[in-house]
Structures are given as structure tokens and as C-alpha cells.
Symmetry: C2
Subunit: 253 residues, 2 copies
Amino acid sequence: MASKSTISFLRSLQQKKFRNQEGLFIVEGPKMVSEVLKSSFVVKHIYAVDEWNPESNIKVPLEIISNSEMEKVSGLQTPNKVIAVVEMPDLTGPVPNLEAGIHLLLDQIQDPGNLGTILRIADWFGVQSVICSPDTADVFNPKVIQSTMGSLFNLKIHYSSLVDVLVKNIDYSKWPVYATLLEGESVYNCNLESSCFVVLGNESKGINPILNSFITKGLHIPRPKNGRSKAESLNVAVAAGIVCSEYARKNNP
Amino acid sequence: MASKSTISFLRSLQQKKFRNQEGLFIVEGPKMVSEVLKSSFVVKHIYAVDEWNPESNIKVPLEIISNSEMEKVSGLQTPNKVIAVVEMPDLTGPVPNLEAGIHLLLDQIQDPGNLGTILRIADWFGVQSVICSPDTADVFNPKVIQSTMGSLFNLKIHYSSLVDVLVKNIDYSKWPVYATLLEGESVYNCNLESSCFVVLGNESKGINPILNSFITKGLHIPRPKNGRSKAESLNVAVAAGIVCSEYARKNNP
């Protein structure tokens, strides 16, 4: 049985303020908890209903709680069988020297679903790192974690001024900086270099003009010219998927 | 001022049962309402707060409501300035003869955000039609409409047994039927034909086995072989975006 204070503690971790205060975040559901247990993240505590069957022996303090208690602590519409409390690594330190490969720069991505989906794409395509502007949504938001399907635990993620990263790139690596734009070179024709940055902009405002001078090439996903298409833009996560896919087809023969 | 019965009527249209009963659905926000007014959909009534500025003269009954009334009727977390009540076309009739081009077959897509994003992709890439299995989410769900960003009003959408559509295809057009699978031919190497179907499966269960015998070719979006990638799958809307993009690069030179 969970005490009242445990329940209110777990509920508080739905909020960024308390996650930062405690240095902890939560992971829900058998699949996701199994992923985090296999990862390098430090799981502090597990709360589960009686029916939960862990994949292997777990060495983490485990407390069995009732279904109604799980309902109270869960952030999901359909509460799950298990919830893990996990140490939150500090992602705001200085960005280390970046390894060769593709790096995504997220400029104020706001929607948790989009952010989680982008992280899942980054993992699928083996992206080297994801660097989030400080005003991008919190990757430890439970909705983000849910949409990553576990990919969060397999990625190098940093929160940093994107300008700082790009200034350092000018001094050292000089990798090209691509950005998804509504105008630019067709992504199909562009020879995406094997080490590069791809900037993805905010859902409604696009890319912050402060980054413009750093962009080597704008990439455009063309619409058919038959006039049938009337959509004004693609969802940012879909655009990220298409650009990563183009990178993969050109760089992973 | 909106009467109590108007408020409860508008709220009821958040639910599929009442939408079907009334043959009406709602569209929220200046951008979306502007799109539906320009479309062939029949707008029956508009409710707006005083500050709403329509793009052009509107010929639809308009009622000014207060901000607090808008808050009560809105399905959005941040209520918008305007809400339109629109006639719901019947999408369940017999599927007409399909025109040459690419057609998406949605097999039990459940998440409203995914469904809306797929419709936005379909519009962007000029997809000829989107055919939804009867157990796919409702395209008139307000969350779906919101994620389409207006693309709903520019697409041919049908709800039908996918088997019926594919049986008819065998008898007549004989277009290839592609399906996004975790194994199959790399989508980068496949010569996607200009007239074809692409089957997209349920978020957790994948494609219904009843459709297997109709599938001409499974398409696979490859991960890099360096072992860095650990994601088990891509989000279905992202997969749809990548396949449509590959179709576009091969068929819209």
C-alpha cells in the first residue's frame, strides 16, 4: 500500500518544477520500465500492481500498490501496471565535443508529442545527438517519454543555447548546418554531408531568426506540382523523419 | 450570448455519438474556420468572440459569445476565438472508382493525433484518397481535425472495409499494394508504382492478418547497420510521411 505522501510525491513528478527540485522523473508502463531498467539510467524505486511481471529479476526497491492507487499516481488515461522513479541526469552542462555524424538542433519544439516522436526518429536513424534550445519542451515530461517509446534512454541529449553550439562549430568542425524550411533546395537533390546539423523550428513560429546566419542550406520537402496539394506545411516531426530518412539513404549504403 | 442549450449542444459535438446523431461536427480556431469556409463543406453556424476578425464577409449565421462561454464550449486547452458547426458528409457510402495515383489504406489507426498528421501528409503529397477501415478513429474527432491543420477539407476520405477495396482492385485496376512493415524490401530500393495502395497498420498491433494475402510488397524503412539504433519501430505517421516522400521523389520529377 502506498502512503498518502508517496501518492502526492509521485503525482508531483508530473510537473517540471518538482522534477527539477527532486532530480527525479517517472517512467510508466511495463515496456518503458523494462527499457529504462536495461539502460544506463539509475532507477530509484518501482511501484507496481500485483499482476506486474518484470522481465527479469530486479534489484530496485519495489512496492506493490493497489489498482486504485495506481490510478491516482498515473498520468495516463489508461493507467498502467508499473511506474518507475528514475534519477534525472543533468542535460544542461557544457555540450562536449560532438562526434562525426548527424546532429539535430531543436529550436523551441513545444508539443510534447512532437518532441517524443522526434527522439524516436533520432534513435531509429542513429542520430549522434539531439541538442534542444533551453525553451524546447522538457524531455522528462511524461507525455514526451511516452511518445519516445523508450528511445529517450538510448540518446545523447543536451539543452544548450543553439548559437553557442553553432559558434563552436564555425571555429572547429565547420560541418554544414541544414534547416527545414518551406523554401530552399529540394531535400531530394541535396547531397547531405555525413557530418552535419539539422535545425528544426518551432511548430508555429519556425526557426528563430537569430540562427539564420548560421544556416548553410535550407532544405525543402517538395509538394507535387499538380496543384492538388493545399497543405501549408508538414508537421515538424514528419519533416524530421523525412530529412533523417534522406540522410540515411545517402549515408548508410 | 449563448443559451444554455446552445452550450450543451456544442459540447455534445465533442462526442462521436452526438456528431453522428446530429450529422454535424465542429471546427475550432480562426485558421481552421477560414479553411472550412473556403472548402466545399457546408458551414451551418459560427460562434465567435467579439475580437474575431473573419478574413472575408461571411454568409453564415454568426452569433457573438463571451470569452467565458467560448471556454465552456471549446475542446482546446487554450480556447480559440471562433467555432464553426459544419455538416458532416457521409463517408461510409460505397467507395467510387479510384483515380490513378497513390491511395492510403488506414487499418485501425487509433490515435487522433496520428490520424490527423497522416491526413496532413496525404494533403501535402497530393494523395488521391485515404480509405479508413471502419475501426479507424473518427476523422471528425476535434483532436483529429486540429492535427490536420485544415487538410481534412481538401481530401477524399472514405470509411470502408479494406478487404472490399482490395478485392475490387484485384478484379479491376490490379495496382500494387504496399505495406509498411518492420521487414521487407527497403523503401529506398523499391520502384513505387505511380498508381498504388499503401497500407498503414495499427499503432500497436500492426496490419490485420486478413489483409496479408493482398499485399504485393512489404516496405521497410532501414535503420543504420552500425548498431547504434535501438528503436523498435517508427511512429506510424512518420512512416507514412517517409513512404509518401519516397513516392513523391520517384513519381513527381
